[in-house]
Symmetry: C2
DNA sequence: ATGATTGACCTGTCTGATAGGTAAACAGGG
DNA sequence: CCCTGTTTACCTATCAGACAGGTCAATCAT
């Protein structure tokens, strides 16, 4: 006549451990009791406890170090996550493009206001490399990625950068498949330079205009592309 | 003279399992061999294997069902994650606000274009409730959250919605602490209605104007607030 | 003092045993 | 022949004990 407990033990333990951390107000780097003690505390077997710990580790709540113990990770670090069903179809691509327009548009707006001379030089040399690769006919996908990353960094907004960083992984994963390198970068190529010039000149409006041209050309490609 | 293997066994197993899934081209719902078989295949003990499975489960790669087996999850689902160090300070708040401006601004732009009559009614009743609570002097933080969620849904961009959803958790977590409910909602209150009217009228420009007013008032509060 | 050694304390991993969930095959009763 | 309850094979869930190996500090020999 045990009570109904659909929830897995490891899940309960995981929950309890999180409560324990919160109640004891453990901070980054603080050590949890050893696995031995924890099994006693919660009255569960070792394997359940270890599964709970792996779960928490995967969620970046704790860090397990061999021979040392289990330590609390920075709880003040907020993790944002999201799931996106990947279906290679026009609508998904356009949906992604909208988000990119929003995020990167803001990044460019900020970058044009805040970019430092040093960052301008960095992006300049990045673009030189871009041109070099382009003329040699080599793949420009990596350098293109770097360029956008540098611009995002110039926006000097760590949160925007973080969101954009993780989003751009999705972005690339998505766009590589259907469109490949074919033509995609050709169409957007010139706008990288005009956009950079505007950013370097701290001309917010012009930078956004160029960025939107870049996005428009992408959108056009997607819309005419047969999927 | 064993080879150096800093990497935990469970991690290797986790990797192998992912390769296995990829090579066999297993799709959503496909069943993996039983734990028994897998231990034979990889030559590891059950505990290591289970820890690997928990890890994969935490990362939403597999789903473990008691008595049934281990199943592959939708690998076509892309997860984006990011970490943001939370420091309650003016700059962080302003950084967050910039991201919100970008994402929600886009959402409102799309919502104003795409909102359906049914959704208009939903938001309308949400706002009625908002007004009711406001007049009774009760907390409006929840209903405020709902309002913005409904608007985001009206944008009909699942990816934007997903990003915004997870971001708004951060947003609220952040703003609740320093500012509390004090004044924060009072200042933005009227703009909810004007913004809604513009969206319902499919007036993109006006909706964005109202939204930016809302954001400006928030920004002003943050800037004048002593932290 | 210093450098090697030892021992206490941990995590890493394996294994055998038991409990309990799930579904398909199977056996009777209408 | 269909419905239903039971058996059975296959799984996961969880525990406990054992051994290997990492880490660190106290200790001991030089």
């Amino acid at each position: 006549m045990k009570k109904i407990q659909k929830i897995h033990l490891y899940e309960q333990v995981s929950q309890e451990l999180q409560n324990y951390i919160q109640e004891k107000e453990l901070k980054e780097g603080d050590k949890l009791p050893s696995v031995e003690r924890l099994t006693e505390m919660f009255g569960v077997g070792r394997s359940s406890l270890r599964e709970a710990l792996r779960h928490l580790e995967a969620n970046e709540i704790v860090r397990i170090e061999n021979g040392k113990g289990v330590f609390v990770r920075d709880m003040e670090t907020f993790r944002f996550t999201g799931k996106v069903k990947i279906e290679i179809e026009r609508n998904s691509l356009l949906s992604i493009l909208d988000v990119r327009r929003a995020l990167e548009g803001k990044a460019i707006e900020l970058a044009a206001q805040r970019i430092t001379p040093k960052q301008i030089k960095e992006i300049q040399s990045c673009l030189n490399e871009y041109r070099r690769l382009k003329e040699k006919g080599e793949s420009t996908s990596k350098i293109d990625f770097t360029f956008h990353q540098l611009v995002n960094k110039a926006a000097a907004n760590p949160i925007l950068e973080s969101v954009l960083d993780s989003f751009s992984v999705l972005y690339n994963k998505f766009f590589d498949k259907p469109l490949g390198n074919a033509g995609l970068f050709d169409a957007t190529y010139p706008y990288h330079f005009t956009m950079f010039d505007a950013i370097a000149a701290h001309d917010v409006a012009a930078a956004l205009v160029e960025f939107n041209k870049l996005m428009d050309s992408l959108e056009k490609i997607i819309k005419t592309y047969e999927i």
